[in-house]
Amino acid sequence: MSQTVESPDFDLRVKKALADPQLKIALERTTGNARRKRAAAVAAWPEFVAARAAAAAIKDHAIDHMAYYLEVFERNAIASGAQVHWARDSEEACKIVVDICKTAGAKTVTRSKSMLGEEIGLPHALEAAGIRRVETDLAEHIIQLANERPSHIIWPAAHHTKENVAELFHEHHRDKSPTPDIESMVASARKELRDDYFAAEVGISGANFLVAETGAICTITNEGNAELTTTPPRVHIVTAGIEKIVATTEQALQLTRLLVRAATGADFTQYTTFHCGPKRPGDLDGPESFHIVLVDHGRTRMLADMPEMLRCLRCGACLNHCVVYRAIGGHAYGGAYPGPMGSVLTPVFDGLAESRDLPQACTLNGQCREVCPVDIPLPTLLRGWREKSWRGEIEPTATRASVTFWAFIAARPKLYHLGLAFALPLMRLFARGGWISKMPLASGWTAGRDLPKPPSSSFMAQYARRRNGK
């Protein structure tokens, strides 16, 4: 089943999102909860600012020595019985995973939520290979039923209200829940997925951390679906970006402490699990083979161009606090990752020419950096893309012409003030009751909101008059 087709045009996607009143309700419920809980968790940690700097330093250390640590990780993982694969891009990564599934004779695979999997298009690759894919995270299960992409990296179904979910479950689940209360819906999903955990030949997970000192990979969930995905099947496949490397178990736990507070406001995840190789002699459960696919997909380029972005823990705090994300939701961004971090990452994966609108869709209010648990300078990185877009001459002609015109005027103060002296009285002619609701050349603004009536002269002009005592 192919996914709901979205418009390739960013403006159309945004218009569609803005016209959806239910989306706004769903987003505000989920992100509002997340913002309140995060604020409470951070308030209870007096040294949070210092901890954030320490977390950034832990990630930077691993990034500085990434090649060294990946080799140490690989050595230890192989010693534990794991098979380690390397993939330069999404095609290589998907091929490795599909080939392992085919060799294992897999008809059904279970999958525990992994953003890297979404990034490399793994759901589609499995589908194309005729392998039945069962998403086990509750939100991923919801969007699989709805035939959609995730709209948030922590809450992939953030765009759905409970009423939507009730309808989906009623249509697709064997048990028809009589009431749309959340508790019955969660119980229904638990029951629905239970058989698949044991029917699957392969379980696929992502990794929140790759631990160099042990060769283990770490998954964190609150539902417990990761362990049920990775333990019963014969084969466990991990797909992980190479930037997930950390030096030690201790540092993985230290970063989790920040990641969880930033993401959900909890002190720790319910299930924090380190997976190190396949079943050992005498073990009563666990996979017989354990594969780790280490994926580059643009990360080696990011090390040169924007190493700070490799710190990203995928907590979603920047999404929850972004005024643009909260208005348009995740699907409008068009990539695997939405919000501020997505607007930085998508041009890396898809090319700037394809995604130049994303870094523009930002107010640069700096909220994203303020709430980032590893202090990524997201506004600076977004501005970097805007500069590249300008220098690469991929801005539309109208935009280039108007910005060039603006730059010409702004660099000539006399001309600028002369222009203002003409424009302000002219704009005032269109004002009714203190607001301008319609004006030539300004429909892009006034279609959505009114402009305040400007004063009769500019600040500079008024200041000059007052200084001269007039």
């Binding site: 901890a51 320490a54 020595h65 000192e213 002190d267 299930y271 997976h275 190190c276």
Partner: protein
């Protein structure tokens, strides 16, 4: 050129190996030490008390009781079964310390199945800061005992409690890594529908911890 060498070469082209493994190790230790100076404050009177307070916090969602010795576990399980109106059948983690207990009228012989209602286990240790139980997978500690049932009752030796996550990590550092290290912090929960916390998503909806010693 293989994908492996392409990736490692381009990483090294940007960040050449400039430090010895010994220096890298020292720098890594300094990073963890710097973080240890910033940790959230903890009011520590006694470790079991802190653990119990953290594990039973609403957002963690476990229930906790204290008994004198591991021999008191069967009575605690019997009370739990009576309180939750369940049959006396359950799956017992195959740990000899649990198997040799006198279970009286209880029936700890159930095989673990996808629809098992109750399992009873023994944690390797606990972390008081977060109220987390730690399990290391082994023939005596299969992973699924902590994930399949709806109810999980776990015995925890008070003497095995660590204060911080860091204390656990440094405590096991250098020892062979088990296949699974499971840090379990409360009952399974999800906030996937409208951000509302709901229990029993896939793992146990109820976690009861019996601290002994």
């Amino acid at each position: 050129m293989t994908a492996r060498s392409t990736i490692l070469q381009s990483l090294r082209a940007t960040r050449p190996d400039a430090a010895s493994p010994r220096d890298i190790f020292a720098e890594s230790d300094a990073c963890a030490a710097a973080m240890r100076k910033t940790l959230p404050p903890l009011a520590v009177n006694d470790l079991p008390g802190l653990f119990a307070a953290r594990a039973s916090a609403e957002k963690v969602g476990a229930t906790v009781e204290r008994v004198a010795a591991l021999a008191d576990l069967p009575a605690a399980v019997a009370r739990y079964i009576a309180d939750n109106v369940m049959t006396p059948n359950f799956a017992l983690q195959p740990d000899p310390r649990l198997q040799k207990l006198d279970w009286g009228g209880l029936r700890p012989n159930e095989t673990l199945r996808p629809d098992t209602v109750l399992s009873v286990g023994l944690a390797l240790c606990g972390v008081a800061e977060t109220g987390s139980l730690v399990f290391h997978s082994a023939p005596t500690a299969p992973t699924l005992f902590a994930y399949l049932p709806i109810h999980h009752v776990v015995a925890l030796d008070a003497q095995t409690l660590y204060l911080r996550l860091e204390d656990y990590a440094t405590g096991v550092r250098g020892r062979p890594s088990p296949r699974n290290v499971n840090l379990i912090t409360g009952a399974s929960g999800t906030t996937d529908i409208e951000g509302v916390l709901t229990r029993g998503a896939h793992g146990p909806g109820k976690l009861h911890i019996v601290i002994y010693g």
